[in-house]
Amino acid sequence: MTAPPNAAAPGSNTDLVELYRGMRRVRTFEERVGELFVRGQSAGSMLHLSIGEESAAVGFVSLMRDGDTFTTHHRGHGIFLARGADPKRMMAEIGGKEAGYCRGKGGSMHIADMGLGHLGANAIVGGGIPAVVGAGLASRHDGRGAISVAFFGDGAMQQGILYESMNMAALWDLPVIFVCINNQYGMGTRIEQATRGRALHERALAFGLNAETVDGLDVRDVREAASRLIDAARDGRPGFLAIECYRFFGHARMDKSPYRSEQDEQEGRARDPVLFARQALLDSGQADEATLDAMDAGIAAEMDATIDFAAAAAEPPLGTMFRDVYAPGEPEPEAVATRIDRILARG
């Protein structure tokens, strides 16, 4: 199995600059999403930020390649951005605008793009997991050599569907990886209160998967673990990876996390994968403060522009309400105009 073309040697410093850039982009994007919410301009009532989890998204996704597919949970902005999404179109979707990835009909929790292999973010905990088993099957059928990856939170570790899916992936030797982003909390419940089980990856071992747990503090460690699992998966040996990190803020934007102590938050936020990578770059002399500051400023400007783009974008036309319920060619029960007239009480 040869390494994918876009992979630099794991751990190299050139690589770390790019990984840092990727993580900073995710963080800044999420900060802008949060600002949008605070300013009352975001359309959605439920926004889940992935701040603190950037290494999971960027470290893993940096080794995926064209044709690979994936699903995410509700906290999936960072994963999609790392996979090459246009942040403007993401922000437009979060704002419910037509220029968004789902024409404004999905929002933050359902962002998807078949072209980039994104089979959908999901608002059902565990709901996106079995689709990657199917995508793995389709990939093997076509001999594409593509892998399919399910990203989900620690909460989904208690959903039965994960185990049914891992079992099938192992049984059929599918090119599939299950990635659990363990940010220690599912809403207000700490992982220790959700399971008596030991290391999460041991469950996957029991089903015959390659499985590891990795600390998400150093993005290079995540990337190395991902590299091992991805190589095996491309050869039809499915895998599981638990990435340990911390959810820096509340579950959704309204949640102020009163169930956590200040100390818990301080310790958790001290394990900051973005600042850790930055320090590693400075310590190794690979980059200086001025270079990194300039990079950060460029990213800030890029992400500021996403808000302006989303604010200026158009609302979806009313007729799109009825579009895409079925495949094209399916007879419409009634003309769209009639249906709009009815719901606007103009009938």
């Binding site: 404004g104 059902i124 709901g127 599912g186 700490r190 209160q193 959700a194 799109t320 319920v325 719901i343």
Partner: protein, 337 residues
């Protein structure tokens, strides 16, 4: 009578039933919240704070935060009900029923019948439904028609705080599995709610307006919209009866038939999708039982046959509103109205 919110009314019903009967327990995801986390305990009370404060007043033995594992905890609640407890399980959003549907419609709903009447399953499931919350397709559905379809399940749709307390109390005391549908846009609605415990019997509709021209049958949140439409129409000289059936199963057929016979015109308002929903069910009932008494074709006001869209511009017109109900009433009245 004291004023209370829909949220408080539900909280009070649960507390009073827990105090009255120690077999009543509650369970769900973060229904207390923060269990074992290094900060405030009882930090959530469910995502809308409905059950907040119950855990400290009772105990962790009777207020159970569950993992995110709907099949298992709903099935567990059904099993506990069949073996002597009276569980009130919170299934956060009705959309998540997809995860545990088997446990509800193949298991809990059928224990009694399949076992030749030997099982009793006093299970209550509280769940949130409805659009208008900017929460997209997987957090906005109604779905109560699906559960109404299943023999063995009872389905209640409280339309205001008074109804919420009385119907939930009845659900907890009821010996069958009951699903109580709470509209997520109504938790802050206020209304008069007695302090003492009371029940509202299932299958007895509430007539909220009496009129001569048109009977409007509406469900859950739509009852309030129907009342508003009726008040507006009154000023325009059209007088409406508004019927809140309160429960879709059992259904108070008599009140629906009698009030429709009096007016000869029927409008049904249902926030669910139009196919196989409560509106089509009631129109079918009325058409079969008293076709001859109808002066006009019955009208159905429902959401359209598409998932709930995320975009506010679309969602705002998705949910049936007062203007649509008024238009349907005028349509039933015919030319000149």
């Amino acid at each position: 009578m004291p004023k209370k919110s829909y949220r408080q009314a539900i909280n009070e019903a649960i507390r009073q039933e827990m105090a009255r009967d120690e077999r009543v327990i509650i369970m769900g995801e973060d229904i207390s919240g923060g269990m074992g986390a290094p900060g405030e305990q009882d930090a959530w009370g469910g995502p809308m704070g409905v059950t907040k404060g119950i855990m400290p007043d009772f105990s962790r033995d009777r207020v159970l935060d569950t993992p995110i594992t709907e099949s298992a905890f709903i099935g567990c609640a059904a099993g506990a009900a069949a073996t002597g407890l009276r569980p009130v399980a919170e299934l956060m959003f009705v959309d998540f029923m997809g995860v545990c549907f088997d446990q509800i419609f193949n298991q809990a709903a059928k224990f009694k019948y399949m076992f030749g009447g030997k099982a009793v399953t006093p299970l209550t499931i509280r769940t949130m439904y409805g659009a208008g919350f900017r929460a997209a397709s997987q957090h906005s559905q109604c779905l109560y028609p699906l559960f109404t379809h299943i023999p063995g399940l009872k389905v209640a749709l409280p339309s205001n705080p008074y109804e919420a307390k009385g119907l939930l109390t009845q659900a907890i005391r009821d010996d069958d599995p009951v699903i109580v549908f709470e509209h997520k846009a109504m938790y802050d609605d206020e209304g008069e709610v007695p302090d003492e415990a009371y029940t509202i019997p299932f299958g007895e509709a509430n007539v909220t307006r009496e009129g001569d021209d048109v009977t409007i049958v509406a469900f859950g949140r739509m009852v309030n919209f129907a009342n508003e439409a009726a008040d507006n129409l009154e000023k325009a000289g059209i007088s409406c009866t508004v019927v809140d059936p309160r429960t879709t199963s059992p259904l108070d057929r008599d009140t629906i038939l009698e009030t429709t016979e009096e007016t000869g015109r029927l409008v049904v308002v249902d926030e669910a999708h139009p196919r196989c929903n409560m509106a089509s069910d009631i129109v079918g009932l009325v058409s079969q039982e008293m076709f001859g008494a109808l002066k006009a074709a019955p009208q159905m006001v429902t959401a359209p046959h598409c998932p709930v869209p995320f975009s506010p511009a679309l969602e705002d017109i998705y949910v049936p509103g007062v203007a649509r109900i008024e238009a349907a009433v005028r349509q039933a009245m015919g030319k000149g109205h």
